[in-house]
Amino acid sequence: MAVIFVDNVEIDAEEGRTLLEVCLEKGIAIPNLCFIKHNDSPSASCRLCFVEIEGIEEPVTSCTVKVKDGMVVTTDSAEVRELQKTAFRLILSTHRIDCGNCPSRKRCELIKISRILKVKLSPEIYDPIERKVKAEEHPHLIYDISKCINCGKCVYICKKLHGRSYITFARRGIETGISFFGEKDAESIPCGKCRACADICPVSALLFYEHYSDLLKKQ
């Protein structure tokens, strides 16, 4: 057992566990979008879970740090908040904000993060960027890149459940999004019986056709 101090509160934790995971279990609010529990190699791509650790000069992502006895952690220093706010605004500048029609609005991670950071749900100083990418067709899924925040959870979960991934990242730079390898045959893929990717998507960028038609009916 290790003892660590997070924002001046003493916490008992198992040595070697991920700092972010431990903090979240103890109810300490650290913004995150790409973190998945029990994943040994975190993607660390959303760049939101920064914390400061005594002895380390720059803020570090808490999903890539293992708990060590005596660790002193600050989760809300000015430095940390600056990076988190910028990362959050950058993500929002490519995310179409349309909460009224969004199935995720009740469990939306972005709304939760805006509360933690005490900022508006808006990119503010950054002009919104529209990602111009042609939608790829899929027998079961609809992918909306204007909502996607590139967290990679769908790619991870698909690979974990099926041994190989039927979803992958594609393209480069700001146009990076997910792709389905051009799959057209509904029978050769397990998606008909599996809902994992749409369930894990924090922003409803991936929807199954039946969800989508429900959504249209409501509108």
Partner: protein, 642 residues
């Protein structure tokens, strides 16, 4: 691991004896030898045409000579390069050898013994007859360790490499212990030439010290910086030196498998390195039980598909594993968990190619070259507004001023120096005040740039620094792998802001916004690409803030470069009555006749191509470019001129 030292020595001297014999049989020292630089750069400059002309003329005139392909000697301004070794003369360096010059060399020099003084650059060795190239600073002030043999040997002939001392360091290393070799490299102080300058011995030691049975060594030849071509040239000109360095490093680290990650866009380099590997395998310098030492090592080629980010070591490993080239978080570093999660040494082409010299001459010798914290030499591809562009190898610690003005001949056209871009898209722009900065890892980092892999672009007074920053950001924005937020979206926003500034739509506070966002991207990004991508923006703001402010506040481009902020007009005081030179040059017919049969430009139609500036005869020079555009005087369009 080391076997019987006598065995190793005997095995190597046997190979060397055969190589010398085969080489001597393949060359005839009684007839002239013509060496043509046939690396990618030479071919692009017309070396193939020169070769064809030489062969045809030799045949036509019935002159006997050996025509030998060599790699690149690094003097791009002189390409195509031909060195002629005519018995009775010292070897002579001819520059810009066109097909016509090739014929002349055969007819005048080989047939009549006239060395054509007007076409030669100098002799390759000291002699009484012809001044040596070493008197020319571009040769004399360089210090060649890695590139010593580049352009002098046939890269596809393993026998020549061995005859000229090749693979001796491998034989020597195999007779020592692994710890001895690592220690020698530690003493040399060799730092990684890929950009960050991490001590080379530390990686080897970490992998050597690991318990894992499987260990790897990877050569990173995924050179992608715009304007950088050092790695390509080294592979195309002396591939065996790289293989030798890699074998020594593999032996020291205990790796039994090596991978050379080279760009698919370098077809000639791929072909040459493949042949070199085959030849080494055939000579039993690679493979099982090398030189009876008990050490076995195999090398494979992996061709990268052109993603810039795969030059980042963890993305490179992902790519070799067959995944999308996206960086992993470090730690764990590749020396702990690299390829297939096994300990892996990753080094750049230049780092590995330096190792044979260190092993041959000793770490102490190497540490005496260059500066204390950055020993050895630096290789740069120096391009842009500079007279003698090309590859240079200089001792570390030489100042930027010496490099540009003394070694490379300064700025062409009598123009003023403005900035030096070092380190590609990850590096920065240094101004005139930084000209006396010594070139070494730490001084450059302190000045805000970085050594990088060795790309250098010299810019003269006509370059707009906001435009330069925009160019590099466009590159990184497109090459970002899209994994982490800061790099994927942040670079896009940096570019958007730079674009609006160069379009004359810059807003108050944009410079501060750039600084803030760039700082956050630098601290917040996942990998080296993102962490360094804002450097071009940050350094140009640091040294050329006034240019940003001129663009934003007075909508003026001080270098007259940004098209939306400039305009052309014709100075009626200079314009010649009745001269129509500019009229025909205009692609959009926007030049009209005004009073006194002089000319004017219709600003509404003008596309600012600048053709009229070129067309206007020099004695008038009447077309003037201004910024901001509203400085253009109103010139009346006459009705009857239509």
């Amino acid at each position: 691991m080391s076997g019987n030292n006598e065995d190793i020595k005997n095995a190597f001297s046997e190979i060397k004896k055969n190589a010398e014999k085969n080489f001597n049989e393949s060359r005839n020292s009684d007839i002239p030898a013509i060496y043509i630089g046939m690396a990618t750069c030479g071919r692009a400059a017309g070396a193939e045409e020169a070769e064809r002309a030489i062969l045809e003329t030799l045949d036509e005139r019935n002159v006997k000579a050996d025509v030998i392909h060599v790699g690149c000697i690094g003097h791009c301004y002189a390409e195509p390069v031909v060195i002629v070794d005519n018995p009775g003369f010292p070897p002579i360096f001819y520059y810009n050898v066109t097909a016509g010059k090739s014929k002349l060399i055969v007819k005048a020099f080989l047939e009549r013994g006239d060395p054509l003084y007007e076409h030669l650059l100098g002799a390759m060795e000291e002699n009484e007859l012809i001044p040596s190239v070493m008197g020319f600073p571009r040769f004399g002030m360089e210090k060649r360790i890695v590139m010593e043999k580049c352009g002098h040997i046939d890269p596809e002939d393993i026998n020549e490499y061995i005859k000229k001392g090749g693979y001796a360091s491998l034989a020597f290393a195999l007779s020592k212990t692994q710890a001895d070799i690592i220690d020698e490299i530690r003493i040399s102080g060799l730092r990684g030439r890929g950009g960050a300058g991490f001590p080379a011995w530390k990686k080897m030691e970490a992998v050597y010290g690991s318990d894992s049975k499987e260990k790897y060594i990877i050569c990173n030849a995924d050179e992608g910086d715009p304007g950088a071509y050092m790695d390509r040239t080294i592979i195309e000109s002396n591939p065996h030196q790289l293989l030798e360095g890699m074998m020594v490093a593999a032996f020291a680290a205990g790796a039994s498998k090596g991978i050379i990650y080279v760009r698919h866009e370098y077809p000639l380099a791929v072909k040459i390195i493949k042949k070199a590997i085959d030849d080494s395998n055939r000579m039993k310098l690679l493979g099982e039980n090398i030189l009876n030492s008990g050490f076995s090592f195999h090398i494979d080629i992996f061709e990268g598909s052109g993603a810039f980010v795969c030059g980042e070591e963890t993305a490179l490993i992902e790519s070799v594993e067959g995944k999308r080239g996206m960086p992993r978080t470090r730690p764990p570093y590749p020396v702990e968990r690299g390829l297939k999660n096994k300990p892996t040494v990753i080094n750049n082409v230049k780092t590995l190619s330096t190792i044979p010299a260190i092993v041959n001459k000793g770490g102490k010798w190497f540490s005496g070259i260059g500066t204390k914290s950055s020993p050895g030499t630096a290789i740069f591809s120096i391009v842009g507004n500079v007279v003698h562009a090309g590859l240079v190898e200089i001792p570390m610690g030489v100042t930027i001023r010496t490099l540009i003005y003394d070694i490379c001949g300064g700025i062409p056209g009598g123009k003023a120096f403005k900035a030096l871009q070092i380190g590609g898209p990850s590096g920065g722009c240094l101004p005139e005040s930084a000209l006396d900065t010594p070139i070494d890892f730490d001084s450059l980092t302190e000045a805000g740039a970085m050594m990088g892999s060795g790309g250098m672009v010299v810019m003269d007074e006509d370059s707009c620094m906001v435009d330069v920053a925009k160019y590099f950001l466009e590159f990184t924005k497109n090459e970002s792998c899209g994994k982490c937020t800061f790099c994927r979206i942040g670079t896009g926003h940096l570019l958007t802001i730079l674009e609006r500034i160069t379009n004359g739509e810059g807003r108050e506070g944009d410079v501060e916004l750039l600084e803030r966002l760039a700082g956050d991207i630098k601290r917040g990004s996942l990998c080296g690409l993102g962490k360094t991508a804002p450097n071009p923006v940050l350094t140009t703001i640091r040294y050329f803030r006034h240019e940003y402010e001129a663009h934003i506040h007075s909508k003026r481009c001080p270098s007259l470069k940004c098209r939306p902020l400039t305009a052309f007009y014709i100075d009626l005081g200079k314009c010649a009555r009745g001269c129509d030179a500019c009229v025909g040059s205009c692609p959009v017919d926007c030049i009209f006749t005004t009073k006194g049969r002089k000319k004017g430009i219709d600003q509404e139609v003008c596309v600012k191509c600048g053709e009229c500036v070129t067309a206007c005869p020099e004695e008038y020079n009447a077309v003037i470019k201004v910024s901001p555009p509203h400085l253009v005087p109103h010139i009346e369009k006459l009705e009857e001129s239509k």
